[in-house]
């Protein structure tokens, strides 16, 4: 039978069924299925598992309470960030110390080989591996929230807000994941059924400030906003969220007009998460970051080292620098680090470190004295780093998730345009007040 004949036969059967049951085939099938299920349940179930359900109900009375629901949600998010950033500090210190020790050993070799190993490979890989603790801890926290059943409640509490800005309750988890790394964030958009909701969520996900941007903020805020460093870093997260909301709204009014997907979703009973389940989740997402670290970032670091070693870095920077002049950071060193930051944002700090041949501890003052940056310039630079081009691995993920080159190219273009406009606005308008 040909395709046309099959479809014709299907239509005839549907009409036939509709004539008999006076209802759509879909409804008839659902009725029959649930009729059969409830009959079967009556036969086989003796004592329904009431206890756990009752406990779950009690928990829900508090967790999604009219007044407590939102403060509790904010509290959980705050708790997750505290957990991640406090617990990762000692691990990060160990990794830092281990790579420092290794670098010292290797630099004794001397020559270009020693330099490549010490400054390129060990320095570069170390600067990436240092993010493994916070990213993996964030994935653990998210896995716990998912497996215990809280994530469904979070979507329930937040759907109204997400719906208002044109997203979906389910967009919420990918956005939170984006704070760890945009790659799993973009991949998590697979759970969003409606294509318009999904594309919008993918396109605004890179504005969620990922772990790779944090060292840029920590470095610059630590030096230029010493007493208010925490506030300056926090403001980056807020700016990212606000830009994501505005862009989501714009996309849903222009590119992706039309109804958003439904929110018919089970709220499962609360369960105790298993160690195995949590670790599996963590690994499935975290290995994407490790793979990126092992391939792209490694290659980039070696290329930068090579360009630097042969003196080719400066001309590249000088070619790009004028573009950034209206934003306040039109120096070739800044341009170099931004251009390579496209490959991976953690490289921005690493590139500056290589250029000024400065350890992280004194890098801030090196930037201030050698580039003549003011706090205003530093802030504009931070905003640019926050908003411009998701890293190349995230762009590649957008390509594979949307199965087209259109969206990754669009993403690169529009985020860079927004970043440039925002940074230029901050520098130009801010200059009127700060002088």
């Amino acid at each position: 039978m040909s395709r046309g004949e099959i479809l014709k036969a299907v239509e005839q059967s549907l009409a036939h069924l509709q004539g008999i049951f006076a209802d759509e085939a879909e409804v008839v099938i659902a009725d029959a299925r649930y009729g059969f299920i409830s009959g079967l349940l009556k036969d086989v179930i003796k004592k329904p598992p009431i206890e756990r359900v009752a406990l779950s109900d009690k928990i829900d009375r508090v967790v999604v309470d009219r007044w407590l629901g939102i403060p509790l949600f904010l509290g959980v998010m705050y708790g997750v960030f505290q957990f991640v950033f406090t617990l990762s500090v000692p691990f990060m210190d160990w990794i830092d110390a281990a790579f420092g020790w290794l670098g010292e050993r290797v630099s004794g070799i001397g020559g270009w080989g020693g330099s490549l190993l010490a400054d390129g490979v060990i320095g570069g890989v170390g600067s990436v591996l240092i993010f493994v603790p916070p990213i993996f801890l964030l994935f653990i926290a998210i896995a716990v929230l998912e497996d215990c059943g809280y994530m469904a409640r979070a979507a329930f509490v937040m759907d109204r807000v997400m719906h208002k800005i044109g997203l979906h309750g389910r967009s919420f988890i990918p956005m939170i994941l984006g704070f760890g790394c945009n790659i799993p964030g973009i991949m998590a958009c697979r759970t969003i059924e409606n294509p318009k909701d999904r594309l919008t969520t993918i396109l605004v996900n890179p504005f969620m400030s990922c772990g790779a941007r944090l060292p840029i903020f920590v470095l610059l805020a630590g030096y230029f906003f010493a007493d208010h460093a925490g506030l300056a870093v926090f403001s980056m997260y807020i700016i990212g969220i606000v830009v994501a909301m505005i862009m989501a709204l714009i996309f849903r009014k222009t590119l992706f007009r039309g109804a958003s997907g439904h929110f018919v979703m089970e709220l499962p009973p609360y369960r105790r998460p298993t160690v195995r389940g949590v670790l599996t989740h963590m690994w499935e997402r975290g290995r994407l970051f490790l793979r990126k670290a092992g391939t792209i970032i490694f290659a980039v670091v070696v290329v930068i080292w090579l360009l630097d070693y042969t003196g080719a870095l400066e001309p590249i920077g000088r070619a790009f620098a004028p573009i950034f002049a209206p934003c306040g950071f039109g120096q070739w060193e800044a341009a170099v680090s931004l251009v390579f930051g496209f490959l991976a944002k953690e490289v921005v700090v690493g590139a500056m470190g290589t250029l000024f041949a400065a350890e992280e501890g004194v890098l801030g003052s090196a930037i201030a004295t050698q580039l003549g940056w003011t706090p205003l310039v530093a802030f504009a630079f931070m905003v640019f780093c926050l908003l411009y081009v998701p890293c190349i691995a995230a762009v590649a993920t957008i390509k594979s998730e949307t199965n087209s080159w259109k969206w990754p190219i669009f993403s690169v273009a529009y985020t860079t345009a927004i970043a440039w406009i925002a940074a230029a606005l901050i520098f130009q308008v801010g200059g009127l007040f700060v002088g």
Binding site: V27, Y34, D60, A152, D159, V264
Partner: protein, 77 residues
């Protein structure tokens, strides 16, 4: 008997489903999740921001937006 859209029920109110409306994906999804005529449904609570709502059906908890609930006709008990 009093007929209403499911979205009009207040927390604690119960009804029996008499008709499932909606189009395409939503319609199918509602059926898949066990919202079929004859089933008893109870509104448990409304989300803190007023939407969506949580209902109990076939012994489990389901959340849906008021917009989707308005596609479901129930007979009040």
């Amino acid at each position: 008997m009093d007929r209403k859209g499911l979205h009009e029920l207040r927390p604690g109110e119960k009804g029996t489903i008499v008709k499932i409306g909606g189009v395409g994906g939503v319609h199918r999804r509602l059926l898949d999740m066990g919202l079929v005529s004859g089933s008893e449904v109870e509104v448990e609570r409304v989300a803190p921001l007023g939407d969506p709502i949580e209902v109990r059906i076939k012994g489990y908890h389901l959340s849906l937006r008021k917009e989707e609930a308005s596609d479901i006709q129930v007979e009040m008990q």
